[in-house]
């Protein structure tokens, strides 16, 4: 658990960060809270010759809520998110999810940007951001480009981000209706056995809109349009929920690990999703 040698940089501006990334290419990584990257380095599963710390770049932190929507700076910590009354009022699902990530000590350091950019299928925020239809803002040598969270993930630890790019902020419209983030895990600090993010709205007693994403049940988060469609237009009765679960099971592709065999994970995913839908609907 001793990392290989690395050079450590702590630039004061994004220009400095981008310059270092351009210089060192795939031998460089940026580090935010470090709660994914540092363990990987200590296990020597990630060899990072040049480590670029983003802590000194103040512009990367902060939560903004205005008529344009919600903006989360990439360096905003889970602790900041949980403590923001304004964010909780605008998008309560984020606090509900953040409280189920790791433990308070990790949440003091762990950032939303790191959580979504790392591409770890176990992380909770990627699925959540897909549920919210968030946009990821990537800054690189040629300026900024925007990628939808729903298009960002390619495989485990593989994303649309280029080596010289940094994920600097996340934006999304304030969600409406009911919400729920439901997660089954083995213990505090664990990744999900199965987790579901659900946002849905109600018009005339029927489901008007729905957005559903599942976590740690494939090598990427799974935003399932079919699952949402199974609910839209229904009264969210047991039959509709059953259809939604069936649709979701068609989209996930879990693997067996210490959390259990595939049959169990599929069953748990269905239970977790069913509970999330019911809770979200009760709040819609």
């Amino acid at each position: 658990m001793i990392p290989a040698a690395f050079e450590y940089y702590r630039p004061a501006s994004m220009e400095g960060v981008i310059a270092l990334l351009e210089e060192h290419g795939d031998e460089a990584r940026v580090i935010a809270g470090g709660h994914s990257l540092i363990p990987m380095m200590k296990l020597r599963m990630a060899e990072v010759a040049h480590l670029i710390d983003l802590q000194d770049i103040a512009s990367l932190s902060g939560i903004t809520i205005d008529s344009d929507g919600i903006r989360l700076g990439a360096m905003t910590t889970q602790h900041d998110i949980i403590g923001s009354a304004a964010l909780t009022a605008a998008a309560p699902i984020i606090k509900e999810a953040a409280l189920q990530i790791a433990d308070p000590q990790v949440r003091y350091m762990g950032t939303v940007g790191g959580n979504v950019a790392n591409g770890d299928p176990g992380n909770d925020m990627p699925g959540l951001m897909q549920c919210l239809d968030a946009q990821f803002h990537l800054l690189g040598p040629d300026g900024e480009r925007v990628v939808a969270a729903r298009d960002f993930y390619e495989a485990a630890y593989m994303t649309d981000r280029e080596d010289e790019e940094v994920l600097v902020e996340i934006t999304f419209a304030a969600p409406t209706g009911g919400y729920a983030y439901e997660k089954q895990k083995r213990k505090i600090g664990d990744y999900a056995t199965a987790a579901a993010a659900v946002q849905m709205s109600k018009v005339d007693g029927k489901v008007a809109t729905a957005s559903i994403a599942m976590t740690n049940l494939s090598d990427t988060p799974i935003w399932s349009e079919e699952t949402a469609e199974a609910l839209i237009g229904t009264t969210c009765d047991d039959a509709a929920i059953k259809s939604a679960i069936a649709a979701m099971l068609g989209d996930i592709d879990p693997t067996e690990d210490n959390r259990g065999p595939i049959a169990f994970k599929c069953h748990a995913a269905g239970i977790v999703l069913g509970r999330a839908i019911k809770r979200a609907w009760s709040r819609a």
């Binding site: 001793i2 083995r186 213990k187 600090g189 056995t193 210490n258 259990g260 049959a263 748990a268 239970i271």
Partner: protein, 804 residues
Amino acid sequence: MKDEITREDRVANLKGMGCSRKRVEDARFTQGQGNYVDDVKLPGMLHADFVRSPYAHARIKSINIDAAMALPGVKAVLTAQDLEPLGLHWMPTLAGDKQMVLADGKVLFQGQEVAFVVAADRYIAADAVELVEVEYEELEVVVDPFKALESDVVLREDLDLSVPGAHGPRKHANHIFTWEMGDQEATEQVLDSAEVVATEEMYYHRTHPCPLETCGSVASMDKVNGKLTLWGTFQAPHVVRTVASLLSGIEEHNIRVIAPDIGGGFGNKVGVYPGYICSIVASIVTGAPVKWIEDRMENLMSTAFARDYWMKGKISATKEGKITGLHCHVTADHGAFDACADPSKFPAGFMNICTGSYDIPVAYLGVDGVYTNKAPGGVSYRCSFRVTEAVYFIERMIEVLAIELDMDPAELRSINFIKKEQFPYQAPLGWEYDSGDYQPAWDKALKAVDYKGLRAEQAERVEAFKRGETRKIMGIGLSFFTEIVGAGPVKNCDILGMGMFDSCEIRIHPTGSAVARLGTISQGQGHATTFAQILATEIGLSADSITIEEGDTDTAPYGLGTYGSRSTPVAGAATAMAGRKIRAKAQMIAAYLLEVHDDDVEFDVDRFVVKGAPERFKTMKDIAYAAYNQAIPGLEPGLEAVSYYDPPNMTYPFGAYVCVMDIDVDTGVPEIRRFYALDDCGTRINPMVIEGQVHGGLTEALAVALGQEIAYDDLGNVKTGTLMDFFLPTAWEVPNYETDYTVTPSPHHPIGAKGVGESPHVGGVPCFSNAVQDAFRPFGNRHTNMPHDHWRIWQTANDLGLHD
């Protein structure tokens, strides 16, 4: 001096036995001022790291250290070839086997030590590990002990099958020993003709003690003076000194072993590990102090595991539920080397306590030890030697028998308890239980939880579940356990030939304070607190005026260390006995000072008083001063004593536990609603420390029962090598425990105390497990194996058709 305080005040000021004195150790531990092995920093100290095998079974074709040696800062790379001329490439194990210190021609488990790299700092050492080139030829891996006994794959090519092992003849190249206790023929006769017989097979999975502090050592060879100093994570520092002397040829007086603060042991730090030996050799080779500290993954993968017992049981009874016989066979997976930490004559520890708390007329136990391609070990993880396995076995067999008899398991236990008047009780597998009073403890426990009410609620819940009104079922876990702790006696128990006595040496200072040194070593048990309390009561000086020291073999008397809840039963007894020697001399001094005959004074709390004249007294402080400043005819100056205590028997603490659990059959998530633990550890020295011990032991029981395991795949890869997958519960997962007690003093222990640190683990594991299994009993469950993690609980529900 006018005595204005009351006798009650004097007793309170003493902070002696029975007082919930705050732990004196905690001031430094809670302020980051502990001094652990990794805190030892010596001038010029070098740092070491191991090259470990990625394979579970492979031949080593070659090892090339050139690139590693070329790295600046690397001082040495040791391989078996370097250790061989010293005869240190193998070492003896506590179980009478031998173990490779560094891989000698082949590797036998994943994570096995192959080469030892020594460098100027820890980072260079880790970098150099990657530069050591080892060429392996993979061999067929055997991880299943049953297959091992049929396989042509020979794991231990160094052993000759025609030569008996340490515990008798071996039946197969991968067989280690057969150990039998009891009367097989008589037991089989009873079973064959019994009215009711229940049989069950159960696997007590492999797990790991996982102390917060991993293992490590710092060796410093002073070549000028010929002295070796070895700091390390040792639960038995004196034994380590003796072993180090025998292996290295350095005379024992030239070796100083220091076990400083230890961050938990739980059995993991009883054995001798290759890292200790290699750090010593490396210090001799380099002439500099060498530190080796393992990381968490190394600790989980390579240092001693616990359990891994495949148990087959048969229990017979009359139709009314009176047990008539018990048969147990164990296939014990010991991994690549037999490095179990048991007393020499007990290759399966005290597994022969598996008749439990019940009066079973006839029983038989057979244990077969087997080599597999897994890490060696087999330590007593928070229990006396293999007692957790034994108690789990009998407490599961009782539940299975209750199913067979269609009887309430609480009632079945009551019918079969050893009765108070039967003590001392001669058990059929060889032990003499010193004392017990089981039925009142059981009744108290059942009453405390309203057992009948719980059963009624459970029955209602089953009906509600069947009607589709709930998806949660309810389990009531019961366990009644008897521990066997406090090894000695010397006539039965030894470690590498050292009798399992223990010791205490006391020096009273002139101003009436004292230092006492013991042969044990606290790893968090609070010895500095509780042993001072024993002494305070025995010698009449306040516990706050008594320093307890352990762990430095240059100052502490020889002892066998701390594990198997032996410290209070053995060293605690030595402490009381040494205290009584002090008191005996103090009586003579007091009599001289008071100008009366020795027999005319009597001890009273903190003083000797002239009989019938309580105003005439000398306090122990007065007496201590007199011992040093006056010439007393017929007495040597000073006030010191030493006691080496060989216990006449073990002590047999017991307890009654109840767990109430709700289980979500759809997710497999268990919720512990209530956990009640009644412990009887005899005389209670410090109730607060006991409660802390019970909380800790129960939490480790919860861990083992509900998810903690060392799992391997078919290739012998460890699947649970980090704390992400190895379950270490936090405050979040742990329920609010309710503790209770009865007091049945040990008749042979000087203060009537028994051990308690491990009881809650021993009793807790079957209690948690029984709660899970009891929840499914109404749906047809008989037995499922631990660990009861979410998916396995879900699987049980699934197999019983509860998801249909």
